[in-house]
Amino acid sequence: MSSKKVSRRDFLKLGAAVTGASAYLAACGPQATEPAAAALPDLTSGNSIPLDELIAAAKTEGELTTIALPHDWANYGEMIETFKSKYGLKVNELDPNAGSADELAAIEANKDSKGPQAPDVVDVGVGHTANAMAKGLFAKYKVAGWDSIEMKDPDGYWWAEYYGALAFEVSKPAIENSPQDWEDLLKPEYKGKVAMAGDVLKSNQSVMTVYAAGLSRAGGDKTKAAEAGLQFWKEVNDAGNFIPVIADQGTIAQGETPIVMEWDYLALANRDSLAGNPETEIVVPKTGVIAGPYAGGISAYAPHPYAARLWWEFVMSDEGQNIYLKGYAHPIRFNDMAKRGVVPEELAAKLPPAEAYANAVFLSVEELQAATTYITENWRSVVFGE
């Protein structure tokens, strides 16, 4: 009887012994864990695990915990449903409306817990990866087809899964000739017609709008783009073409903001919900195509490490990437897939031509931060001359 009943103190001792033992095992390195690794694929190298082995390992876990994946954002609803039915795993979805910072906080708070509140995988704004790396929250893993991912951490701690490109959303009844490139926005015919979808001092989207115009003007030179962008918008404003209304579906429908700069997936979704009233055209500029990517990662403390890796193998496969495309988010491997002809015709037809995205420019985390600081600090003084 008494041997079954473990007192609280004994329990703690036992815990300490186990922790000590596992620390000892970890310290011993690969040799000590070798026997176990024979059964399950190795996680430490970060190399892609053959799919059949990965599926078998994930099935023993039986479940995946995700966070911050709204079903109407980038078509995550279909992504999750397809994943579930394809591999027969349960998906435990934590707060779909959490922000990037919340996702990282959830990993950190559940470091020592393998319970249902600990996320296995996250999808964060690229800027947040620096913070996650510094705190060691991500595990490295390189999915199959790693080389065709256009933006990633070289060691495999995070990678972009999809992106939007800044595009012009043009209201057709108001504008006869749609602008095709940034410099076109200076033409007198667009007087009082050029708007942004956010405020430069508040929205990353608008900071990138300034930067993209500058990148076009500086001939692709990233070091001069921020400065050139401010100069460009000063000219747009001086010409009377800039209209400071924060554009949304309402102002587009009403016609006050006939040319709006925003992420293409938002513009395309707008086009769908406006349903031809008014007719809109989405133009990706010829030069200065800026990509706004999201980054995926695996929690270093994931309760279901194999299911997590299987999730990313699925999401980053041609099938998963096309599911993003259905939600108008551009899959990160789009160029590679377009070259191989695996993008379905009917999906491609709803998007601006693929060539437009061929030159999309990705910014590193440092470049993004430097550009944001420069543009917000000088926006008012340069553009409005105050």
Binding site: G192, K193, L201, K202, V245, Q254, E256, T376, E386
Partner: protein, 307 residues
């Protein structure tokens, strides 16, 4: 003679307190009770936030103590400009609202117009003075914007281009017009009862003494009205000074106003320095306190006349 009188007074003065204290004490708690929700709200939504703004003004991004935010208020050009623009636009719309609102209230209350018009005007003013924020901004964009209904109509019907002279609604003038929409109805609402307070007998008395209409307004009506006129003007000033949603929905940070700068520091995903936002807010609290003190002291004078 005077001694019994004094005694009598003293006695009668003494009587009342002896009889009343018990009921007074019991009722005083009950009298104060209905105020409890107000004090609770004032504490939670006025005093605590004010304290938090004050404390937050001296914090840097990492939470340490700093004077930098306060110093920035007086040194950063954007901030100085923002206060200047905010003060200008508030002063213009407060004065404009006061003048037009007063004339309108006068016309409706004393102008001998049909009685139904007054009901209509007060109802309209009640609605309009509360019509602000995003709907108001959009209403103006849709009517007077570059592609607005009125703009288009003037163009097509009269070949009149309102932008020909360089005018654009997206300017300080434009935003002032938008603010006027809620400013002068508020003036009407507050001035109408004050104008009602002008007794008819006063103007009759003035006329009996041989005074003209000018005399009546210069020496009787205006001195009575001036405290509430000025007091309401200050209220309008504060009303415009704190407006945020309207201005933001109308033209983002294009017009450099203090509330918009605060918004950018507190909730954007680009700039983020709550301490600086708090310091900017502290500056506004300071300016508002001065105008509230002015309002209260003027209101006190007005109350004395209206008894």
């Amino acid at each position: 003679m005077s001694i019994p009188n004094e005694k009598l007074t003293a006695q009668s003065k003494g009587d009342a307190p002896m009889a009343r204290p018990p009921t007074k004490r019991a009722s005083s708690v009950i009298n104060w009770l209905p105020l409890a929700p107000f004090f609770l709200f004032a504490t939670m939504f006025l005093f605590l936030p004010s304290i938090s703004i004050f404390v937050g003004s001296f914090k840097d991004v990492d939470g340490g103590f700093t004077f930098d935010n306060i110093i920035a208020l007086f040194t950063v050009r954007d901030f100085i400009n923002a206060y200047r623009t905010s003060l200008t636009i508030s002063a213009i719309t407060a004065l404009g609202g006061a003048v037009f609102g007063f004339l309108l209230a006068y016309a409706v209350v004393l102008g001998g117009l049909p009685k139904g018009l007054r009901t209509f005007m007060t109802t309209f003013s009640g609605v309009a003075s509360n019509f602000a924020g995003v709907p108001l901004a959009f209403a103006f964009i849709a009517t007077m914007g570059n592609n607005g209904l009125v703009t288009r109509w003037l163009e097509s019907a009269f070949k009149f281009d309102i932008h020909a002279g360089g005018f654009t609604i997206y300017s300080i003038t434009g935003l002032s017009i938008v603010y006027m929409y809620f400013q002068f109805p508020l003036m009407v609402l507050i001035m109408a009862p004050a104008l009602d307070g002008l007794h008819r007998e006063w103007s009759e008395a003035c006329a009996n003494l041989g005074g003209t209409s000018w005399h009546y307004w210069r020496y009787i009506a205006f001195p009575i009205l001036i405290p509430s006129l000025l007091g309401t003007t200050i209220l309008l000033f504060g009303n415009a000074f704190g407006a945020y949603a309207t201005a933001y929905a109308f033209s983002g940070s294009f017009i450099n106003l203090v509330p918009i700068l605060i918004g950018a520091q507190m909730q954007g995903d680009v700039l983020f320095n709550p301490g600086l936002g708090n310091a900017l807010a502290l500056g506004m609290v300071f300016i508002m306190s001065i105008s509230m003190i002015g309002y209260i002291s003027l209101q006190r004078r007005a109350a004395r006349w209206l008894q």
